[in-house]
Amino acid sequence: NAGVTQTPKFRILKIGQSMTLQCTQDMNHNYMYWYRQDPGMGLKLIYYSVGAGITDKGEVPNGYNVSRSTTEDFPLRLELAAPSQTSVYFCASNDIGSFQYFGAGTRLSVL
């Protein structure tokens, strides 16, 4: 049972480049989330999903897009990378009333 798997672990982007952060969970959870964590800060919710085909904005969605075509996968897309998007990104999943399981994170630098 792998839990929540994020790829890649590290990435460096140039300003204006695009990339997709992958997130997969094998626990059949309905709810999935993307957070960013800036140095010395807590987690800020970017987008979340309550099931396949359903997504919604969190606290800091600008500059990001998501899709949820399957229960297992919840990719996060950065279309035009900006230095302000340098952060560590965490994907999480859970079922209603239970705690969240987190992936190990993707460390992204935009230069």
């Binding site: 807590g42 979340y48 965490f90 992936g103």
Partner: protein
């Protein structure tokens, strides 16, 4: 507005000493409460959670937390810390009976252990 406050940004304790990390929340009703730990370069791991019932909750790695409704607090404690406990600790709340299970995190408390 819903919020979680961890008033201590950084705490240093000696190995073997007791530990208490503070967490206060502002919420319309009693929420679900969590403590997570994040070791350097790692994701978050759940230490313990409170949903209902006994207000003293036991978690992994010898941690416990006490829910105090009158103080809107959920402080994390450990009787004797080990060097491996050095990490970032996050308190979090989530709405009960929410269809979205949106969790709000505190800004974290970094714990350092003095040899």
């Amino acid at each position: 507005a819903q919020s979680v406050t961890q008033p201590d940004i950084h705490i240093t304790v000696s190995e073997g000493a007791s530990l208490e990390l503070r967490c206060n929340y502002s919420y319309g009703a009693t929420p679900y409460l969590f403590w997570y730990v994040q070791s350097p370069g790692q994701g978050l791991q759940l230490l313990l959670k409170y949903f209902s019932g006994d207000t003293l909750v036991q978690g992994i790695k010898g941690f416990e937390a006490e829910f105090k409704r009158s103080q809107s607090s959920f402080n994390l404690r450990k009787p004797s810390v080990h060097w491996s406990d050095a990490a970032e600790y996050f308190c979090a709340v989530a709405p009960v009976y929410s269809s979205a299970s949106k969790i709000i995190f505190g800004s974290g408390t970094r714990l350092s252990i003095r040899p």
